[in-house]
Symmetry: C2
Subunit: 187 residues, 2 copies
């Protein structure tokens, strides 16, 4: 079975250095120097961690087959040597979002926000892994953790992508968003 | 926050008596006399439990607004005094199902299997709570636990409902299904 569960530990270890933590909506997270990213259920205890966030990759909730084919043709994986910048963006949506039905959420997500089409425009520069948190337990602090990687030359593109998404209707339903920017030591 | 996490402990306690455990697809579960149903994350340790299954209620994945309105107008909740029969049906779907995109899953689920329409025909007799397991951890034994309650007079109707679902295309993607039937002591 492929690994689906990932834990992000806000501590002092690992290849990524935090360059900024920005609370866009709601409460921020305490500063941490380096997030450690652990795959699987066995997570080391780090007593000095400022935060621990967990998420699990899962089946896609909105993408159609045509969209998936378009994404798969262009997207690249995490871990490219040139991708020396990254962002971890935890998000929580509000109860109104979760009370919507599938057709209503899809309409906002893609027909009105064009979430998938917007992201497609930034491929292959921006690589991404989406982790779901909402159904891990009753009391997760976020619903989603998205981890993005890109080359330093594409930082402005990435800023434009997240700004475009934040200006769209889907973001009316976001009640907490923290933007954690990261760089490899040689970036 | 409303409680979403439920644990079913296959032990010797609680108001429901097991009247049969039937493995329809794949491995069965060991026999247990009485399942205990615990809401919330604090779960008592029962060393004699034959099995422990967890699931979390979540947002709907397929239902449209029109379908939800139709369901809400007819469905009743768990715990009706006349509902002295119940079934706990854990299901796991295969990797092919989870690799489908949302439009493909919806097409099989409703346009071809008519899962929602079929269930609607058995309301309000059959009450139901769906629990998701797949994203609780990487290694849950099932993807869904559905708990149904109905009056003894509707047992044959319930048998017909599950038989109709099992004959449909969606069930080609079920790789494990156990049907645990329960009765209150006075049923």
């Amino acid at each position: 079975m492929s690994q689906r569960l990932f834990t992000f530990i806000g501590g002092n270890k690992g290849p990524w250095r935090v360059t900024g933590i920005d609370a866009l909506i709601g409460d921020s997270l305490p500063f941490a120097n380096r997030p450690e990213i652990i795959a699987g259920a066995e997570v080391p205890i780090r007593k000095d961690a400022a935060w621990v966030l967990r998420g699990i990759t899962s089946n896609e909730r909105y993408v159609t087959r045509d969209e998936k084919t378009g994404l798969a043709a262009r997207q690249q994986g995490l871990g490219r040597p040139e991708a020396r910048c990254a962002a971890l963006i935890p998000i929580r949506k509000n109860p109104q979002w979760w009370a919507l039905t599938q057709d209503e959420r899809r309409r906002i997500f893609e027909e009105r926000t064009k979430h998938i089409q917007l992201g497609l425009g930034y491929l292959p520069a921006v690589a991404r892994r989406l982790h779901h948190c909402r159904d891990l337990s009753e009391n997760e602090p976020f619903d989603f953790l998205t981890f993005f990687e890109y080359a330093p030359a594409h930082e402005a593109d990435f800023d434009r992508l997240v700004a475009e998404l934040r200006a769209c209707e889907e973001w009316n339903y976001v009640e907490r968003e923290v933007d954690i920017r990261l760089a490899r030591d040689d970036a």
